[in-house]
């Protein structure tokens, strides 16, 4: 034992003599990480990315990114004698002639799906808890960019084997590109090196997929993690947690062990999926041929919303002065995802403008305490979800025996109506939950003990909520500083706050009112139930104690 300690001592001194790392390493090892399961969703994406790098490197040792035609005579007998590109043939080779090749291919593809899915749920967690607020707006933007890039990376990746299904996807991509006004045909001819399909698109996509985008990912993910590290992670509301501390367990050994364990879980889940769930069986699709197509042509799930947008669109096209505006193609291609990504990227700044809240936030919101934001998030999910389902409409029609056109008509209505209903329902649910919280705080928890009062009345005895629960229920109710504009009816002579004047200012005030709508903590109708412990005076009905130093906000 002591020999080991001596060896470690020696190594430590050796390195420290050269790097002076003792103090900073110690700070690093003691760094506190707050503990909540939803904070691990981003790690799913991170470790899936690492697994993608590992399995992807394996695949590059056998994959041939070439569209040169060869005649196949490999291990998969039904395709013997068929002309196909080298890319396709090498993918068949990996699947059937390389030991572990099929497993690595499947892990790579499942990891790609898991990567995007994890980004989605992680992004939603950050959105619904308000963790994108100052000082984390840049990290949010980086996240949106990572999300967008992951869609492209996946699209290019599954197009590399040049099979029928992904080739159809490339055809659709080319058709969409071609429809772009003014530059569409040029973009298409430049990317494909001529008419579709040409013989150079696969090598080009390969370089983007294997070199350019992974380099971008590495840089952005590093920045994303560094910012999170430097600003410290947010934490969920609770007892003893304030805007000026982090409560949790230290990096060493706790967080390292947990994150290591999670990495193994992720790898295990991916291995399980790749053992028992076949993915992308390209030998059944056959090589790409522009004359052939399969029923149920879908892209991978993360492109489903785009696919659904293309299906849902009516046939609008303008032909004027010898030029064609193909609205039926470039509107679905640009508008829905433009709203989601653009809206998402701008949201922290929009919310900041509406609320006027310039403070730092390190405690997460409970979604119910931000009902409008949660409602908007659910509306966005509904919008995206309707398009996503519509992208699978022929599979749904065939499996559930629902007429095809009916599904499209339902989707055309639901894509507008659904988000509205979702917003309204979600907001009402949040406000209802706030009612419940206020009720719990003022009335306490029911104990199940019934007592009869001298007057003959039966009451149920309640006890006050625990300290921990109280801290959670009271969290973050300070609200944003008001814009201090005069309410209607009060003196029009009062000078309104800057930012609340003019048409834009009035819009801001209205939005502010909507956004900060909430149920006050003090419910106000305590009806004299006994056994209620006295609540610390001053805690109720007033903004929570100062949770942060405002004076540092810009």
């Amino acid at each position: 034992m002591s020999k080991t300690t001596d060896a470690m001592d020696g190594t430590g001194r050796y390195l420290d003599d050269r790097f002076r790392g003792a103090r900073s390493m110690r700070t690093f090892l003691r760094k506190i990480f707050p503990d909540h399961w939803s904070f691990l969703l981003g790690e799913i994406a991170l470790y899936s990315f690492i697994i993608l790098l590992l399995t992807g490197t394996f695949l590059t040792f056998w994959f041939q990114p070439s569209m040169t035609e060869v005649t196949y005579h490999g291990a998969y007998v039904p395709l013997h004698g068929i002309r196909m590109s080298e890319a396709y043939a090498s993918t068949l080779n990996i699947s059937f002639d390389v030991r572990g090749g099929l497993l690595m291919r499947q892990i790579h593809h499942w990891a790609a799906l898991l990567f995007v899915a994890a980004i989605m749920v992680h992004m939603l967690r950050v959105f619904f808890t308000g963790a994108y607020r100052k000082p984390r707006e840049f990290n949010w933007i980086i996240g949106i960019v990572l999300f967008t890039l992951s869609l492209l990376e996946g699209l290019f990746g599954y197009s590399l084997p040049d099979d029928l299904l992904s080739g159809t996807g490339l055809r659709i991509t080319q058709g969409v590109m071609q429809s772009i006004p003014i530059v569409g045909t040029y973009l298409s001819y430049f990317l494909f090196g001529g008419p579709f399909p040409g013989n150079i698109i696969i090598p080009r996509l390969y370089v983007i997929h294997v070199l350019l985008l992974p380099a971008l990912f590495l840089a952005l993910i590093t920045a994303h993690l560094f910012f999170m590290f430097h600003q410290k992670h947010t934490q969920m509301p609770g007892k003893g947690r304030t805007e000026t501390n982090v409560v949790g367990a230290p990096m060493y050994p706790y967080f390292m062990a947990k994150t290591g364990a999670f990495f193994f879980f992720i790898f295990a889940v991916l291995a399980l999926l790749s053992t028992f769930a076949q993915i992308n069986p390209i030998w059944l699709f056959g090589p790409y041929n522009p004359s052939g197509i399969t029923a149920g042509s879908q892209p991978d799930f993360y492109m489903g919303a785009l696919e659904g947008a293309l299906r849902i669109m009516p046939a609008w096209e303008w032909n004027v002065l010898g030029h064609t505006f193909a609205f039926n193609v470039f509107i679905p291609a640009l508008v829905p995802l433009g709203i989601i990504f653009g809206g998402g990227a701008l949201w922290p700044f929009i919310e900041r403008w509406i609320t006027g809240d310039k403070r730092e936030h390190h405690i997460n919101d409970r979604p119910r305490n931000a009902p409008t934001r949660t409602g908007i998030g659910m509306a966005a999910i509904t919008f995206y979800g309707v398009l996503w389902l519509e992208g699978a409409n022929d599979v749904i029609a065939a499996q559930l025996q629902i007429p095809l056109y009916l599904l499209t008509w339902i989707a055309r209505v639901a894509v507008f109506l659904g988000p509205v209903i979702a917003y309204w329902v979600t907001k009402r649910v949040c406000l209802g939950l706030q009612h419940k919280d206020a009720h719990l705080l003022s009335h306490g928890v029911e104990t199940g003990i019934i007592r009869q009062l001298p007057s003959g009345e039966y009451i149920e005895v309640t006890r006050p909520v625990s300290e921990e629960t109280r801290a959670v229920l009271e969290s973050n109710r300070a609200g944003a500083p008001q814009l201090t504009a005069p309410t209607a009816g009060e003196g029009a002579d009062e000078i309104p706050a800057p930012g609340a004047t003019g048409a834009l200012g009035r819009l801001r005030l209205t939005l502010n009112r909507v956004l900060t709508e909430g149920i006050p903590l003090e419910d106000g109708h305590g009806n004299g139930h006994a056994e209620r412990a006295a609540v610390t005076a001053g805690d109720h009905g007033q903004p929570a104690p100062d949770q942060g130093s405002d004076d540092h906000s810009a």
Binding site: V77, L114, S297
Partner: protein, 267 residues
């Protein structure tokens, strides 16, 4: 079961019960759902006058109410004069006929008649107006076929309705192209030849008998081959893969994350 008692109030107990319930439902459903109908193979041998007479009797009893006493057709069903023995064999051996539940299309269902009766019905209809005959076993045999050509033809002219693996697909107005998982070689041949319901006709002069054998060879070989990557998820494509990602991958990992970060109960 005494180990359950102290763990009844475990934080994960509720989740465990839910999971168990879902698993039980899934297993039970999988056991009782599905199930196919037997399909009869082609049998050569010329029909006799007796066969035609029996066939006529069977027809009068079961089919004439919709197709008319002389198979001339009514408002309920088309004329069968000239459709040929192949069409009858296909429709009746897949159970589509006698038709019940007249919805958008006639699905495959349990067969009503025996193989001999089906041939007798077919002989009777053939006697009315000729039409495509039932192919022989040699005509539909995949042995020695050119599977590469079969693959090309299948992808070009069949997969757009039936899907790349013959798993079926949606058509308009509630119709669907059926899955090919249970079709016998004879039935596949007959379907191409006669173009049942919405399916186009692929006559022997357009896709020759030898090319039809190639297609049959490709379909029967690929549907029988194992799925080397695991369960096939329906051979439907990325839709089921996306579902599994969320319901399998993310869900399991969320449970793992909850386990990792759960506060330990004081013993």
């Amino acid at each position: 079961m005494s180990w359950i008692k102290p763990r009844r109030r475990h934080p994960a107990a509720g989740y465990a019960v839910l999971l168990l319930g879902l698993v039980i439902i899934g297993v039970v459903y999988a056991a009782i759902a599905g199930g196919g109908s037997a399909a009869s193979a082609a049998m050569p041998g010329g029909p006799s006058a007796h066969d035609i007479a029996v066939g006529q009797a069977l027809f009068a009893r079961t089919c004439s109410s919709c197709h008319g006493m002389n198979a001339q057709g009514t408002s309920a069903a088309p004329s069968l004069v000239g459709v040929g023995a192949a069409a009858v064999d296909f429709q009746v051996s897949t159970g589509r006929m006698p038709g019940k539940d007249f919805g958008a299309e006639m699905p495959r269902k349990p067969v009503t008649f025996t193989q001999q009766q089906i041939h007798q019905l077919a002989a009777y209809i053939a006697s009315l107006g000729g039409g495509p005959t039932i192919p022989s076993a040699a005509q539909v045999s995949p042995a020695g076929a050119d599977m590469a050509l079969g693959q090309q033809l299948f992808i070009t002219d069949c997969a757009q309705c039936h899907n790349f693996a013959g798993a079926g697909g949606a058509l308009t107005y509630g119709k669907s192209a059926p899955a090919l998982t249970q079709s016998t070689p004879t039935q596949i041949y007959e379907a191409m030849l006669t173009g049942p319901e919405a399916m186009p006709v692929f006559s022997d002069t357009t896709i020759t008998p030898s090319q039809k054998r190639d297609i049959i060879a490709y379909v029967t070989t690929t549907r029988a081959e194992p799925n080397p990557g695991g369960f096939s998820l329906g051979r439907v494509g990325p839709v089921t893969e996306g579902l599994v990602t969320f319901l399998g991958g993310i869900a399991i990992l969320v449970f793992a994350a909850m386990w990792l970060t759960m506060k330990r109960r004081e013993a």
